[in-house]
Point group: C2
Chain length 293, copies 2
């Protein structure tokens, strides 16, 4: 029944895609089987991460980009990641006329698997949007082929971006709400900060002004995404990013497996609390137990 | 030589404490030996986490608290955790007249070990202050016996706190910069939000107004920390938190060990990228390799 579900998802059927994403989210025991069936059909989609402070308009920009990319004949998937809810209420999915949309909790291993589902289902582009801030932002960047950093005028975002080290990981800058005062200044701040920094690759991140709520400037962003895809392929950087992503993905799955196996540490923890056992010795014991057949 | 260093640290000698923290930070191969020697001397210190948005005055409040707690005859240690620098420039340590101070990167396993060093060295209280925001805030809370949530007037922090779920984890609220407009409103907002929420324990977090830069209100916070310690002991919640912390610590060490052992995933990653191998099968293979003698 899994192989049938996967076959339907490979044809791009939204219901099957939704069901697979839902299984991924819930940590279904079928995951290894699903992953094995999907594997030969993956590796085509461009994963585009959207990151930025709350209030810059990530959701609006995502929606506008979906419209723009679909107008170019592309199949688009959307994943929203909410790190504050480790488990979400399940994958949401529209009909064929809408982008495939999933909503995931902040689980390190779930997002790459959901990406694989959308990739195998024939998406040309998967937009990954984070809700909230923090570690998940960084995780999303590590999973993306192309990272969009969103800013808005007058939020002191330039400084925030520099602080968070986000300048180094942006492939495309989007200054949204560009009809507000200070948009030109935000662009100047960004240019200045970029002139100070040193990127290690040959790509110079373009800066685009948008008013996503009215769709303004979105086509140019869509074009920049496409240009970055071309550059990724030509420069070899795309292959490097995919390899790094696969390494991180394998590692996350392996660690999650170990985490599940070593659960039930209560008795060891009690001995650590009383000082009878040190945590390193306890960790060794716990790992030894997981290796027993 | 390690046993001598630990013996000196147990006497509270700052140089030895600094050297041990530095070894912890750098992931020294001596860590298991250090942990084993420290274990019988741990479990006494009250770990107090300070969390809050950038700009609320965490460092200033930490310094003021050090002064106030020392005036009560307590030995105080301070750990500053900067998640944006995975490795810091080493532990900083003042002379005996100053609080023991360490500066750690955002490594999940390093902070608990540095806490153990300060605990075994005879600290009554260890203040753990995060630099920046994000996941590390949550990690600090999970390690603390007592969590101080800092806010400042007019920063919209009340709403931020509610969003981040920080209301549920605060043991003491500190409204710092209380000489600014809006301090009373911030306190009212907090009271209102607390009236909506449901804490699962019998402790009602007090709200204290401070001007940390002038030391105002700090004694009351120090007293609240002491009262929370008494409550932790009397209610049994302290024992529960320590057990949970030890579990998390053992798990983090075990996972870090596995992570190091399975490194070198390049060849597997290449096969995942091309679709020859799915990431679950790759994870199984990687784990199998680590179990070989």
């Amino acid at each position: 029944v899994i192989s049938e579900l996967v076959a339907q998802a490979l044809e791009g059927r939204p219901r099957a895609v939704a069901q697979l994403i839902s299984r991924v989210e819930s940590g279904s025991p079928d995951l290894p089987e699903i992953a094995a069936l999907l594997a030969p059909h993956t590796g085509r989609a461009q994963v585009v991460g959207l990151t930025g402070s709350p209030g810059v308009g990530k959701s609006t920009t995502t929606s506008a980009l979906v419209t723009a990319l679909r107008a170019e004949g592309k199949r688009v998937g959307v994943l929203a990641i909410d790190p504050s809810s480790p488990f979400s209420g399940g994958a949401l999915l529209g009909d064929r006329s809408m982008a495939t949309r999933g909503h995931l909790g902040g689980l390190a291993w779930a997002t790459p698997q959901a990406l694989r589902v959308l990739d195998a289902a024939g998406c040309d582009v998967v937009l990954v949007e984070t809700v909230g801030v923090g570690q998940s932002e960084i995780d999303v960047v590590s999973m993306a082929d192309t990272t969009l950093v969103l800013l808005a005028p007058g939020m002191g975002d330039g400084v925030q971006a520099a602080k968070a080290g986000i300048l180094e990981i942006a492939d495309v800058f989007v200054v949204n709400k560009a009809d507000r005062d200070g948009a030109a200044q935000t662009v100047r701040d960004l240019r200045y900060m970029m002139s100070l920094g040193s990127r290690h690759d040959a790509w110079t991140p373009p800066i685009h002004k948008t008013v996503a709520a009215r769709g303004e400037g979105i086509d140019a962003v869509a074009k920049a995404i496409e240009e970055h895809r071309t550059w990724l392929a030509a420069s070899g950087e795309g292959a490097r990013r995919r390899r790094r992503r696969a390494e991180a993905e394998i590692e996350a799955i392996a660690l999650e497996k170990v985490r599940v196996r070593i659960s039930g540490l209560g008795a060891d923890a009690d001995r650590v609390v009383t000082g009878d056992l040190d945590p390193y010795a306890a960790a060794d014991e716990a790992l030894r137990r997981t290796m027993e057949p």
